[in-house]
């Protein structure tokens, strides 16, 4: 019974508070309303957009890694092996798994690329060369899986039925490299010009090793001349700093018969998550032959660290935004309550409870927060997210997008709402709790 009385009393406070609050908003100064709502909208946006862009810088990089390098699930060699064991068995399973959309098998070999050896002026000096990673790929499968050709800034894509061509990453070339102060890039590389490529190490396995032993050769690589067919320029560093040749050329040059690859990039169908797909392939025993990672797990550690740092920075900036906003709301509501102090006193004088008057100010704060956050959400999802998706920010290591996932955004909106309510309640309480007569007489 007593509980019912208390509930009824509080419902009365809410009723009277709403009655006063709504009228104060609707009949108060429209410019003050616009000002406060603008502050709320900007605060909400600073709370979501700045961390979203900071995270988006690394998120863009993650997405590019997933799309163009690792796929959804990435198979690489186990730590104690130099290649994925039973690659062909894995491939046979991938060919029949309904969850597999497409995949590409890559052979990764250490290599040396040498250019300018034909037209150098001084033959007593060594020609220009760089040690880099070379990927031997099935061009058709790689194109289907990662769309490698989209990064061609010059020339054209490798073809399965062609031989003797190479794609060179732009980082290795003086004309494109942003890292020329860290190493000596290759000069004068042009599409259609020759380049000598020596494939290292991996050539001497199994039968090849036996042959080398029989012939007594100390040579550890096989050299062949390729024609530069295209130049790859991507923000995925691995792609821009490697060579790409066809799998057939790899076998021809290195006389390699082994079918054990170093990487398998898999894209699954839309109806399965990365984690679920990983579980599926592990259930086929892939884990015994290869290191199986989802795209997220395959993110380079430094990028994950950068994202964590950016996330922290974003949260700090957001926190400062909340503090500034709550102080602003506090000041605005305080001034609003202060100039209305006399009327607050009168209302108390005629018997309106303090809690009902306080609720009127909470109502106002909630109104400002709701409209401000609502506008912010509209701008965020209606304007900013699509804009940054269409026009990513051009950063050296990624195309920065605006990451605004729904749940974290709602949590931030909730925090802002709560803080705003408190910032509205406190000044109202300070004024409302003053002596009734002092308020009426403005003493």
């Amino acid at each position: 019974m007593r509980l019912v009385t208390i509930i009824e009393k509080y419902l009365r406070f809410i009723r009277v508070g709403s009655f006063l609050g709504i009228r104060q908003i609707l009949r108060g100064s429209i410019w003050i309303n616009i000002l406060i709502i603008s502050i709320m909208t900007l605060t909400f946006l600073s709370l979501v957009v700045i961390p979203g862009i900071l995270i988006g810088l690394t998120e863009g990089s993650f997405e590019q890694n997933r799309e163009y390098l690792t796929g959804d699930v990435y198979l690489t060699t186990l730590p104690e092996y130099s290649s994925i064991i039973n690659t062909q068995n894995i491939v046979r399973v991938l060919d029949i798994l309904p969850e597999v959309d497409r995949y590409s098998v890559r052979y990764k070999i250490g290599s040396t690329v040498e250019v300018g050896y034909i037209d150098r002026e001084d033959f007593t000096k060594d020609s220009e060369s760089l040690s880099v990673s070379a990927y031997a790929i099935d061009p058709k499968k790689e194109e289907e899986t990662t769309g490698l050709s989209r990064f061609l800034v010059e020339g054209s894509m490798l073809k399965n039925d062609e031989s003797g061509y190479v794609l060179i990453g732009s980082t290795l070339l003086e004309e494109y490299s942003a890292f020329s102060d860290l190493f000596e890039p290759l000069k004068g590389v042009e599409v259609g010009r020759p380049a000598k490529i020596t494939l290292q190490g991996a050539a001497l396995e199994g039968l090849e090793r036996d042959r080398a032993l029989v012939s007594g050769s100390a040579q550890t690589g096989q050299t062949s001349e390729f024609i530069v067919k295209g130049i790859i320029d991507s923000k995925v560093g691995e792609l821009s700093s490697s060579l790409f040749i066809t799998e057939q050329d790899y076998r021809r040059v290195s006389q390699k018969t082994s079918l054990q690859a170093q990487e398998i990039v898999i894209k699954h169908t839309q109806n399965v998550s990365d984690e679920r797909f990983k579980e599926i392939v592990l259930s086929y025993g892939f884990g015994e032959y290869a290191k199986v990672r989802t795209a997220t797990e395959a993110i380079p550690k430094f990028l994950a660290d950068v994202q964590q740092t950016f996330g922290l920075l974003g949260n700090m900036i957001g926190f400062i935004g909340i503090v500034v906003s709550s102080i602003t709301i506090f000041i605005v509501i305080y001034i609003n309550a202060l100039v209305r102090r006399k009327f607050i006193g009168i209302l108390k004088g005629i018997g309106i409870s303090e809690r009902a008057i306080e609720f009127a100010y909470i109502m106002q704060s909630v109104f400002y927060a709701l409209i401000g956050i609502g506008l912010g959400l509209l701008i965020l999802y209606g304007l900013l997210v699509p804009y940054f998706f269409q026009n990513p920010i051009d950063f050296p290591f990624s195309d920065g997008i605006l990451v605004a996932k729904l749940i974290p955004t709602i949590i931030r909106a909730g925090i802002l709402m709560l803080v705003t309510m408190i910032a509205g309640l406190l000044p109202a309480r300070i004024i409302v709790r003053q002596n009734t007569l002092d308020s009426i007489l403005q003493r």
Partner: protein, 227 residues
């Protein structure tokens, strides 16, 4: 109805103490129309605030309608004012964002009365004070006299036991003042207990009694048996 014994009120500002009421004893009976008069600074408004529960006296006792009001908590005092007392302030004190009808309906709203009844009672009392058709006018759309009438309507809407009026004609012209006093007289004739502070003798003509205050003490009671 109201019994005041040895009431004092002292304001302290730093080390300075101002004794505004120095020991007031008085009674007001039900249905009485009492005017409190005195020079500026005599303590008449302060006395009204103490017996009207708007302020807390320094010492003494106040009994209103059988309740020792000094024993009430702040929320109980607020509830007491809501249900049993009505106030008319010198400067009308209407809430500027609310219409005349909304201002009048505030006490009823706080009492938890339903909307239909609130509308009926608010409009009736506005009609009764001669403000028909002004329900939706905001205070700034009303003259001073009209605002004071709305203020009286707000004070009377929940049928209080005692109506307190603090210089209700101070900001009004002669015609409006006369109209307000006539309104108070009408209420008194219907049995309303009224305590009014004024410094204008001509507006005490309908009062049953005039209490004169000087320097924080009652100097005389002037009963007007032949008003």
């Amino acid at each position: 109805m109201i019994t005041v014994k040895n009431l004092t009120k002292t304001y302290t500002n730093g080390e300075i103490q101002t004794h505004v009421l120095k020991g007031i004893d008085m009674n007001i009976t039900q249905g009485e129309f009492v005017a409190i008069m005195g020079k500026s600074g005599a303590g008449k408004s302060t006395l009204l605030y103490q017996i009207g529960l708007l302020d807390i006296p320094t010492s003494g006792t106040i009994d209103v309608g059988g309740v020792n009001i000094l024993a009430l908590s702040e929320s109980q005092r607020t509830e007491f004012r809501l249900n049993r007392l009505g106030y008319i302030f010198q400067d009308y004190a209407l809430v500027p964002e609310l219409t005349a009808e909304e201002n009048v309906s505030m006490p009823l709203l706080m009492q938890g009365i339903d909307d239909t009844e609130i509308k009926k009672r608010s409009r009736k009392i506005i009609d009764d004070i001669g403000m028909e058709g002004k329900y939706r006018n905001r205070p700034n759309q009303l003259s001073g006299g009209q605002q004071q009438r709305v203020s009286i309507a707000r004070a009377m809407v929940q049928a209080p036991e005692i109506l307190f009026a603090d210089e209700p004609t101070a900001n009004l012209d002669a015609a409006s003042s006369a109209a307000v006093i006539d309104l108070l007289r009408d209420l008194h004739e219907k049995g309303q207990t009224i305590v009014m502070v004024t410094h204008e003798p001509e507006y005490t003509k309908y009062c049953d009694r005039i209490i004169y205050l000087e320097d924080g003490l009652i100097t005389s009671h002037d009963y007007k048996f032949n008003k």
